[in-house]
Amino acid sequence: MVDLEKQYDVLVVGGGNAALCAAIAARRDGASVLVLEGAPKFYRGGNTRHTRNIRCAHDAATETLTGPYSEEELFDDLLRVTGGKTDEPLAKHMIRESKEVLVWLQEQGVRYQRSLGGTLTLGRTNAFFLGGGRAMLNALYDTAEELGIDILYDAPATAVTIENGMFLSATVTHESKPHQVRARTLVAAAGGFESNIEWLKEYWGDAAENFLIRGTPYNRGSVLKMLHNAGVQETGDPTQCHAVAIDARAPKYDGGIITRLDCVVFGVVVNKHAQRFYDEGEDIWPKRYAIWGRLVAQQPDQIAYIIFDASSLRLFMPSLFPPITAGSIRDLAGKLGLDADALEKTIGDFNAGVRPGTFNHADLDDCRTEGVTPPKTHWARRIEQAPFYAYPVRPGITFTYLGVRVNLESRMLMADGKPAANMFAAGEIMAGNVLTKGYAAGIGMMIGSVSGRIAGRGAAKNARN
């Protein structure tokens, strides 16, 4: 049983991929470990619940990966998505470690499979978890339990006592009672603040009220805030979050992968005034899906509608909700609550601007518009074949970039630049050191597993000394 009176070698705050990797690594190095997961057992694991793959470097094809993916290539991909803004030594160190982590995770019971249907482009670079992120978590938790790691659910850390960069204890609220938990070292792996609407409003204003959160309601960033307040250095852009356009009918929290919509490139996107506002065919979807959350967030009432016709219905992955359907653009406008004349004019103008071309949704084709503002530069086809379809979309927030600064050991750095005496960070709470903006599938999980393992080892060693 969990003994909250005892002093643990390592206290892990958080319960996702990074937290579990840290706990397991520390335990395997001989430390006694307590994991505090703020969420109830079912929701354990934060955003890891909704993940499905991890992007690690590897020298050769494996049973489930179709080819090699070098450290250099992974680093280049990171530079590409972050626009070159990353902590280069840390990023390179983590990418080097990612090679081992790919195998290490398997040793902790995690299973991989070939890339899923509809994700062939990731078959070489990303290892998919058999059964998805929750299966991965289940495996890590089983291993943690077998190793004798103490785990407490429904146990959010509500305060930390830190003196001059030295962690002393944490207050955990469990079964409505506060407890002081002492430990020789701390690993903070409690994620970002994407579920904290009040905090998001500091940067986004009232627009944040209309955001949907793709993960659980438990990613509130309270540990992140406590650490900043205790003098730990910040990293990452506080105003940034990863936002994609998801179905507006999705629940406020935890809709996960199934509320995504991959059909922007096949139609046009209009706002509540039935006006287009961005080039829907700018680039292939995997490179552009992450800009649409922000684009919709900037529209009035943070709502937009993807509109397409019968010719496109079967070209993309199905999603949870059926599209709204009508026999004419006018009727569709009625069902969406849009001004029918305005929508007819927008679609009419768009159709008139479409130039002839050869449609190829797998590549940047030559189907584009002329004389329409904004233009649609690829995959532009007239929207004319009834029935007509629409998906309402809102910004869906996946994660935030604000974090704590760490060094190569994943040890936190204090505001004065000095390394913390006994505090480490792993996962989303420190991802902003290397992933300053943008996203590439599976990179968050790589950062989580790698930083978790580094932090866990470091914490175990620190606790021994």
Partner: protein
């Protein structure tokens, strides 16, 4: 929006089918479970889920539970995704839907009770028959050597009774398999012998009762399930018992050798090994059934599952008891009980859990046929 308000791809006659359709829409837009078993790849080939499609997917599901433990949307999540239980319900209904003759499909409702009654009645009939037609001294006497059983019941009567019930079971099962196959096969191009052999392999090894390699769930969310082994013991035990009966029939008609046979002879060796399998397997399955996590259970069909397992167990227990005590005065009563149980087993085969094996096999054939189209 509540989970129940989410859409299905079409209308369905039962709640279970509608719920299965709703879940397939969710699963089809997630696909994380694609590597766990055959159900999810088969689902991905479809946009619409007709009753036949859902009955196909439900019978393809082996109930390993892995997709429940792995699902980020399982209860208490508001999407309320419980694929193993929903498909178990659809599966249960499908046996009834395709039963032949349709008038007897009601036997699937309160199946445990129906089968217990039929079994009890059969045993009583055999006992009574023996008492009426056999001399009491014969019934309680000690008989050994070839033809000992037939002093209690003439071989021809035995052959007629069991041949009759066997033929009926085959006919009823064939008719319901035919109806099921028509509904699930659609216009898939024939897969030839290859698809059939693939299905034999997949069924014989219970390929899809392993959670994609991580193991199955039964008691809780840990992959510690042993049902695969118990099922193998049951299934191969059953086949050995069938082989025993078949060899004995061949001996009787072609070699003129009458039962009972010495312990080293094939019918007894097969029957003994099979009988042991049919004790170990069903006991294991029964224990697993009682330990199964309630959220995975289709509680409405527990009676059917238990009735079938108990029938198999009674068959093996009475058969082995007969083997051990056949040279004692208990033989007469034991023979009547054993014959009664076996008679009831065959008679109820088309209206109980036995059909799961046949439907699952056909679903595996169809899956193999469809998979061939992928390449």
């Amino acid at each position: 929006m509540r989970a129940i308000d989410m859409h299905t791809t079409m209308a369905h006659p039962t709640r279970a089918l509608a719920e299965a359709d709703r879940l397939m829409v969710i699963c089809n837009s997630c696909r994380y479970c694609e590597g766990l078993c055959a159900v999810f790849p088969a689902m991905e080939r479809r946009n619409l889920f007709k009753d036949g499609d859902l009955n196909f997917l439900a019978n393809l599901c082996h109930g390993c539970g892995a997709c429940y433990a792995d699902c980020q949307f399982s209860p208490p999540h508001e999407f309320d995704v419980n694929v193993p239980r929903t498909l178990a319900r659809v599966r249960g209904e499908s046996y009834q839907t395709y039963a032949w003759p349709g008038a007897l499909s009601g036997l699937f409702a309160r199946n445990g009770l129906a089968i217990s009654l039929i079994a009890a009645f059969s045993v009583a009939a055999f006992l009574l028959g023996f008492f009426i037609w056999a001399d009491p001294s014969v019934l309680t006497g000690t008989h050994v050597g070839p033809g000992a059983f037939y002093r209690l019941m003439p071989h021809n009567v035995m052959a007629l009774l069991f041949g009759g019930v066997f033929v009926y079971a085959i006919l009823a099962l064939t008719m319901s398999m035919r109806a099921f196959w028509r509904d699930i096969a659609g216009n898939t191009p024939a897969g030839g012998i290859g698809a059939f052999l693939q299905a034999v392999k997949d069924a014989g090894s219970l390929r899809y009762l392993d959670g994609g390699g991580a193991g199955c769930m039964n008691d809780d969310d840990k992959p510690t399930d042993r049902r695969k082994h118990y099922h193998h013991a049951t299934f191969y035990g059953f086949l050995l018992c069938l082989a025993s009966t078949t060899v004995a029939t061949l001996y009787h008609y072609f070699l003129g050798r009458e039962a009972p046979y010495p312990w080293w002879d094939l019918p007894v060796v097969f029957g003994t090994l099979g009988g042991i399998g049919l004790i170990v397997g069903p006991v294991g399955l029964l224990v697993a059934k009682f330990k199964r996590a309630p959220e995975l259970l289709d509680e409405t069909k527990s009676g059917m599952d238990v009735a079938f397992i108990v029938m198999l167990l009674l068959t093996s227990v009475t058969g082995l008891a007969l083997l051990v005590l056949r040279a004692t005065p208990a033989m007469g009563v034991l023979l009547a009980v054993h014959l009664g149980v076996v008679f009831a087993l065959f008679l109820t085969m088309p209206y109980g859990k036995f059909v799961h094996g046949l439907f699952r096999f056909l679903a595996l054939v169809q899956h193999a046929r469809e998979s061939r189209g992928d390449h």
